[in-house]
Every structure is written in structure tokens, then in C-alpha cells.
């Protein structure tokens, strides 16, 4: 009887203990879940390698900081502008957002926190590396955010160059060699060989897999090579190509016309390369041209360096890359329009991650940015994503070595295929394709539209500058007021000086545009 009662008591004790243990675990997990902070970051880089690299780095960070979860939000490029604008204006943006794609309009930076002061400090995640003693911003090989503002609004891990990818097997089959073309003439000759091969074998095969984006990039490269001398001639102060503003003002003031040999040469090169892409390529999206290439229906594809991982994952043939060959400087022909061989210049970063003012965790966002852009993690990001490294001392690995920019040569002219002027070009582009393609007809049609496009671009630029300087008056006075007192930090003084300097420079450009547009309006 006694034994039976003790046995029942033991059973109750076991049950109560088990219940208590279960309660403890369930409660602990719930508390852990509640106390865990989630840091969200959003971007439009959907390339496979980039997504995987971010995931790996996020997991590294979570190991170092167990109470934190990093969540990646992938937003398709096509909706990023509207999505991002809604998020930042609505005050519900994630902790970090890739800045770009005209998101938020001309006032985009007023929605992000400047991180200039933080970039003057060391990056603690570089401890133990040769970069340990450097301010964060000096750990970049070039610009940190690629935005060229007084303040720094973000840190980028993206840098890009363009290359022509080619199917090594197909090249060998067609030419008997694996050697890609090195000059523009050799490229055109190879394209002719591909067309002849396709006709002979009956295969559906284009020399170049074009799309709207890649086609424009390729034509832009060719046009910029041809307008190099023109852009230098229009520079009022330097023997270097001028910028879009000066080039457009000069056009509207009749200092050059579409009869300039550089423009005629550019249009002709655009015609020559258009015929090497599949018919209707301007209607193709980026993915369709990629599909064309990986299916073996095109020998070559002009694409960005960050496309490499996606391409290599999809193809079942060896892939090589080479730099888009452009005409070389010469006394006659296309070469006469160049001052020197086109340089790719410095490594340009884009799409920096900025911290929206509505970020729930700005301090944590800064810390994650520092981690992401430390030397060790940038090496990892570059290796896993196939991207070009942006941090000093990080060397590209494997296939990425093919994409480092070639800084030798002369700077190219600015792009004419952007904004309203670009729309004017693209609207008439159909005159450069098809059996009746003619660069003369193209330029004749363009002449009716280009001036209006340039004027719209300049007006929009001037208005944005004027809005910027008006907003900044308050910031300048705030910076001046904060200089008061004996302990005004040198950083504050530098900030004030920078704001005033930037304000006056931007305002001068706005007045210059206004004056030259007024003078252009009087042209007969």
C-alpha cells in the first residue's frame, strides 16, 4: 500500500518536472524570439552569386552577434524604383537599402542618414589587417559610395565593367581557333564568319545575343569612342572630354551639330553592330538575351561583370571573355575621331547601401555595413559572387580577374544615350537596323528631336540643383551654429566648409545652365 502510494507520488513528481522543463524551454524560445533583432536590407541584385554571398556574410555576422538576424530582401530591378520610393516616403523602409535607380526622385538623399563622420573613423572589423589604422573611407580603392555628394550616404560592394562573353567551343568550331578578336575590325570579320557559318550549316546562330540593355551598352561604348574628340573640343577649359552639361549647352548654342565626324562615325558604328544582333533585339529583356547565349544560339554576349556567376552556372560549354574592342586612334576613318585609346578608367562603384532615416536600427545597420565592407568579408563577397572587389588589398579571384578595368588610355566621352537626349536617340534607333538601315536617315530623324531632349535634361538638372541649394540653406546655418563654442570639433568645421563649398559650386552650375540656355534661345 505504502509502496504503491510512493510510486504514485514519484509519477506525479516526474510529470510535474517534465511539465516544468517543457514550460521553461517553450518560454525561453519565445523570449529569445522576441528579443532577437532582425536587420533587413534590400537590393535589386538578383544575380545568383550575389545573393549567395550576402547570405554567407549574413550568417557570419549572426555567429559573431547571436542576438541578431540578418534578412535579405530581393526586389526585382523592374519594380525597385517604385517599391523603394514608397518605402522611404512611407517611413517603412528596411534598415539598409541599395541607393539608385532614381528612387525617391532628386531629393533621395534627404531620406537617408549621412554617414560621413562614421567614415572618418576606423573600421573595427579590419583589426589585424593592413587596413586596421585607416579611416573607413580610405579602405576603398576608389569612391566609397560613387555618389559624389558633400556627405557620404552609403557604402557599396558593387563595381562593374562590361565584357563580351563568348562560347569557346563555338568559336573553335567556326574559326578553328580559340583566340577572340582584339580589334574592332577583327570583331566585324568574326561576325561575318558567324553569319556565313549559320547560312552554311542551317543553324540558328547570331554573332551577338543582344537585348535592349546590353545592346544599348554596346552601342554606347562605340558612340562614346567616336565622340571623344568632339567632347574635348567642347571643353572650355581642359584637354579632356567635357561632361553632358557642357556638351548639350554647346549643341544648343550651335557650336556643333549632328554633321560632326564623331557623330557620323558613332552612328555608322551603331549601325554596323546592330546588324550583328538578332532581329528585334531592342524588344528583348536581359534574361532573354542570356537565354539566347546559354542555348548556344549566339556566339557572343555583351554583359556586365556581375552577370558572370549566373552565366557560368547556366552554360554547359566553356566561356571566355574579352574587352569590347573599339576603333584605335588613326589619321583617317573611325580612328580619326579618337584622341587616344579608350580607357575604362578607375573602378567605379554603384548602388551603395544607405540607411533610411526611418531605419529601426541605425547603429546596427552601420555595424553591419562595416562588417560587410571589411577586407576579410569583401574577399569572401568577391569570391562567392564573382564580383570585382572594392576594398584595398583584395584581389579578384578566378574568373573575376578578367573583369578588372583597363585604366590605360584616354577618358571616353560622356554617354549621349541617357535621359531625354538618350530617349531621342533610342526612338530613332530603328533606322539603324534591318535591310534598309542607314545612319544618314537616322541622323536626319534624330536632328528633329535631339535638341528638345537635351533642353529637357538641362532644365531638369538645373531645377534639381536649385531645389538642392534651397534645401541646404538651413543645413548650412545649422552647421555654422554648431561651430560655436571652444570645443568645435575639426570634423564640424570641415563639414561646414564642405557644405558652403558645395553649395556655391552647384549654384554656379545652375546659373551657368540658365544663362547659356537663355543665349541658346536667341539662336536663329
Amino acid at each position: 500500500m505504502i509502496r504503491s502510494r510512493r510510486f504514485r507520488q514519484l509519477g506525479v513528481v516526474v510529470l510535474v518536472t517534465a511539465f516544468a522543463f517543457a514550460c521553461y524551454h517553450v518560454t525561453r524560445r519565445a523570449v529569445q524570439r522576441q528579443s532577437r533583432v532582425t536587420l533587413r536590407f534590400a537590393h535589386w541584385q538578383l544575380e545568383g552569386g550575389i545573393r549567395d554571398a550576402f547570405d554567407a556574410i549574413a550568417r557570419d555576422y549572426e555567429v559573431l552577434h547571436p542576438g541578431i538576424h540578418i534578412a535579405q530582401q530581393l526586389i526585382p530591378e523592374t519594380i525597385y524604383t517604385s517599391w523603394g520610393t514608397t518605402q522611404i516616403i512611407g517611413g517603412v523602409a528596411p534598415d539598409l537599402m541599395e541607393i539608385g535607380k532614381s528612387m525617391g526622385g532628386p531629393e533621395v538623399y534627404s531620406y537617408f542618414l549621412p554617414i560621413t563622420e562614421e567614415t572618418d573613423q576606423r573600421n573595427p572589423y579590419n583589426a589585424g589587417t593592413p587596413l586596421a589604422g585607416l579611416p573607413w573611407r580610405n579602405t576603398y580603392t576608389g569612391s566609397m559610395d560613387g555618389l559624389n555628394n558633400t556627405e557620404i550616404y552609403g557604402a557599396s560592394v558593387f563595381a562593374s565593367t562590361t565584357r563580351i562573353y563568348y562560347n569557346v567551343n563555338l568559336l573553335r568550331e567556326i574559326t578553328g581557333s580559340e583566340e577572340p578578336p582584339r580589334t574592332f575590325e577583327q570583331l566585324l570579320a568574326l561576325c561575318a564568319q558567324v553569319r556565313a557559318h549559320a547560312a552554311r550549316t542551317g543553324h540558328v546562330l547570331a554573332p551577338l545575343a543582344g537585348s535592349r540593355l546590353y545592346g544599348i551598352v554596346m552601342m554606347d561604348d562605340l558612340l562614346r569612342s567616336q565622340t571623344q574628340r568632339l567632347a574635348c573640343e567642347m571643353n572650355p577649359g581642359l584637354r579632356f572630354p567635357t561632361d553632358n552639361t557642357e556638351l548639350y549647352l554647346a549643341y544648343l548654342n550651335r557650336q556643333w551639330s549632328l554633321d560632326h565626324p564623331g557623330i557620323r562615325g558613332g552612328a555608322e558604328l551603331m549601325r554596323l553592330v546592330s546588324r550583328e544582333m538578332p532581329p528585334g533585339f531592342m524588344q528583348f529583356g536581359r534574361e532573354e538575351s542570356l537565354f539566347y547565349f546559354v542555348q548556344g544560339r549566339a556566339l557572343m554576349l555583351m554583359a556586365f561583370s556581375q552577370d558572370a556567376t549566373s552565366i557560368l552556372r547556366q552554360v554547359n560549354f566553356p566561356v571566355g571573355v574579352f574587352r569590347d574592342p573599339l576603333p584605335e586612334p588613326a589619321a583617317t576613318g573611325f580612328g580619326a575621331n579618337l584622341v587616344g585609346p579608350n580607357s575604362e578608367g578607375a573602378l567605379n562603384v554603384y548602388g551603395p547601401f544607405g540607411i533610411p532615416r526611418s531605419s529601426p536600427h541605425p547603429a546596427l545597420a552601420i555595424d553591419f555595413l562595416r562588417f560587410l565592407t571589411s577586407q576579410t568579408e569583401n574577399q569572401k563577397f568577391s569570391r562567392l559572387s564573382g564580383s570585382l572587389p572594392v576594398i584595398v588589398g583584395v584581389e579578384p579571384e578566378g574568373f573575376a580577374k578578367n573583369f578588372m578595368p583597363d585604366g590605360h588610355g584616354f577618358p571616353p566621352a560622356p554617354s549621349l544615350l541617357i535621359g531625354g537626349a538618350g530617349q531621342a536617340f533610342l526612338k530613332q534607333l530603328h533606322w539603324l537596323t534591318g535591310a534598309d538601315a542607314s545612319s544618314d536617315v537616322f541622323l536626319h530623324a534624330l536632328a528633329g528631336e535631339l535638341g528638345a531632349g537635351m533642353r529637357a535634361d538641362l532644365d531638369s538638372h538645373r531645377r534639381a540643383l536649385q531645389r538642392f541649394v534651397a534645401l541646404n540653406d538651413g543645413s548650412i546655418e545649422a552647421a555654422r551654429q554648431m561651430l560655436r563654442g571652444p570645443a568645435a570639433a575639426p570634423a564640424r568645421s570641415r563639414k561646414y566648409q564642405g557644405l558652403v563649398e558645395n553649395q556655391n559650386e552647384q549654384e554656379a552650375t545652375a546659373y551657368y545652365i540658365q544663362l547659356r540656355l537663355k543665349q541658346a534661345g536667341r539662336m536663329p
Binding site: 531629393e107 534627404s110 542618414l113 549621412p114 580603392t141 576608389g142 559624389n148 558633400t150 572650355p236 577649359g237 581642359l238 584637354r239 579632356f240 587616344g340 580607357s343 578608367g345 578607375a346 573602378l347 532615416r357 585604366g407 590605360h408 588610355g409 584616354f410 577618358p411 536649385q466 531645389r467 541649394v469 534651397a470 534645401l471 540653406d473 538651413g474 543645413s475 546655418e477 545649422a478 552647421a479 555654422r480 551654429q481 554648431m482 570641415r494 561646414y496 566648409q497 564642405g498 558652403v500 563649398e501 558645395n502 556655391n504 559650386e505 549654384e507 554656379a508 546659373y511 551657368y512 540658365q514 544663362l515 537663355k518 543665349q519
Partner: protein, 281 residues
């Protein structure tokens, strides 16, 4: 009985503390207002300035901040400009000669120049001119100098009138003392010489003086000025100066897209001998 008495004593001690903490001390509230205005948060700044004004109605700085916040609101309306003008005019009327009064006069001219829906150039020019005449040596007043240069030089006037205006700005520069006013007035004049007259002879000394003073703060601006100084020196046949500015450019911007070409240009120039740098212009 003891508990309610103790409670009332504690409450009597704590209530003022809680009240003061809620308000924030006027100086730090004012500071928060400037910080918010610096971050372009005009709405939050206005609240902070209003609190600072309530705590210290005599604070002219808080009233200045409050007025300027109207100019930073996202809706750019005639009503907001008028509200700012009214407050700034009050500040100026009360005391036109202290720092706040001078700042108020400066921003009244800025409103005429950039904040009005239809800018009033002559009113802005008159405002800046009067400010510089009344307070030629005060830093806040000297902010007017680059603005005056912009308005006078980027104007569609006949050549003789433009030259008269150039003389006016050239006369003004030696009277300026703050680094920002000297630097920006020189650079505005130099840029105007290059952009509007392709005149390297008159532009070069201004670029060179700015570089010698080392007052250029932003790297993009320094990039442009070094390049322009080297190129103007080239146009004027001052090859030692050309080498000097190009070498400084390369040490500051070794990975710039123009670096390769600049290396080539330097290689084609005669190597400078010791002491061959031209006299400062």
C-alpha cells in the same frame, strides 16, 4: 496616514524633475533643433525650436532656426517664404548688428535669390551689397560675397558691363577674410573666366591662389581645380607650374580615369629644375 504624506512629499520633489526632463533644457533643445535642421528634418526641427522659444522667449537663435525651418519644408510655397520673411524681418528690426541680425539680413537676401517662386535678382544683389557694406569683416556677412559674384557674373549683360562687374568682384576679394568666402568668390570668378570667356590668363592666378591656401575641402572640387590649374598653366606656357599641379593631382587621385593620360603628358614635359617654379601669380 504616513503613506499619503510620504507620497505627497515624493511627488512634490519628483514632479518638477519630470516636468523639466520632458521639456529638456533650452540649450540642448536648441542644439537638437539645429541638428534636425542639419539633417533636413524641417518638421522636427521646427518643433524643437518652438520648445526652445517657449522655454526662453528671448532666444534669437531659436527664432532664427524657426524661420529657416520654413524654408526647408518640402512644400515650397509663397506662404512658407512669407512666414520666414516675417520672422527674419522681426529679428533684423530688433537688432541688425548682432550675429543673428546679420544672419537674418543674409537669409532675407537668400530668399529673394533662391526661395521665392519667382526670384528677385536685383533685390538679392542689393541685399548682399548692403550687408557687405555694413559689416565687411564679419564672417556671416561675408557669406554674401560668393552669392554676389554669382548673381553679377552669370547674367546676360553686354561685355563692358560684365567687365565692370568683374572689377567689382576683384575689388571685393582682398577685403574678404574668412576662408570660405575668399575661396568660393575666387573660384566663382575663375570658373566664370573659363566658362564664359575661355580666359586662362585671368583665371589661373585665382585657381593657383586657392590651391596655395589649401582651403578646398571636398575631394571632387580639389580634383577639378588641380586639373584646371594644370591645364591653364599649360595654356600660359608655365610648364613648371603645370608639372607641379599635375603631380599633386596624381598624388591625390592616383586611380582617376585621367591619371594615365596625365602620366603621358608629364613624361612629355621638361623635368623641372630646382627653384624653377614660376613666381606665385
Amino acid at each position: 496616514m504616513r503613506v499619503p504624506r510620504l507620497f505627497s512629499i515624493v511627488a512634490a520633489i519628483m514632479l518638477p524633475v519630470v516636468f523639466t526632463q520632458g521639456q529638456g533644457d533650452p540649450a540642448s533643445t536648441l542644439q537638437r533643433g539645429w541638428e534636425e535642421l542639419g539633417l533636413l528634418n524641417a518638421g522636427t526641427a521646427q518643433q524643437a525650436f518652438a520648445t526652445a522659444m517657449a522655454a526662453n522667449p528671448a532666444s534669437r537663435e531659436a527664432r532664427l532656426g524657426n524661420a529657416l525651418a520654413f524654408l526647408q519644408l518640402r512644400s515650397r510655397t509663397a506662404g512658407n517664404s512669407a512666414a520666414a520673411v516675417e520672422r527674419l524681418e522681426d529679428l533684423r528690426r530688433e537688432n541688425p548688428d548682432d550675429d543673428t541680425g546679420i544672419a537674418a539680413t543674409y537669409y532675407l537676401a537668400r530668399i529673394e535669390q533662391v526661395h521665392r517662386i519667382t526670384p528677385n535678382r536685383p533685390a538679392a544683389v542689393a541685399g548682399y551689397g548692403a550687408l557687405l557694406a555694413a559689416h565687411p569683416s564679419l564672417p556671416c556677412a561675408q557669406l554674401a560675397a560668393p552669392n554676389l559674384a554669382l548673381l553679377l557674373l552669370y547674367d546676360d549683360v553686354p561685355a563692358p558691363e560684365w567687365e565692370r562687374r568683374v572689377t567689382e568682384i576683384e575689388t571685393l576679394i582682398p577685403r574678404l577674410s574668412t576662408p570660405e568666402a575668399v575661396r568660393d568668390t575666387r573660384l566663382i570668378l575663375a570658373d566664370a573666366f573659363i566658362r564664359l570667356r575661355h580666359d586662362h590668363t585671368r583665371a589661373y592666378p585665382l585657381f593657383a591662389a586657392c590651391l596655395a591656401d589649401a582651403t578646398i575641402t571636398r575631394k571632387p572640387r580639389l580634383n577639378g581645380v588641380l586639373l584646371q590649374a594644370a591645364e591653364s598653366a599649360h595654356q600660359l606656357g608655365r610648364s613648371a607650374d603645370e608639372v607641379r599641379w599635375y603631380e599633386q593631382f596624381l598624388s591625390e587621385f592616383p586611380r582617376d580615369a585621367k591619371a594615365d593620360e596625365i602620366h603621358r603628358r608629364l613624361a612629355s614635359l621638361p623635368a623641372p629644375t630646382a627653384g624653377s617654379t614660376e613666381a606665385a601669380p
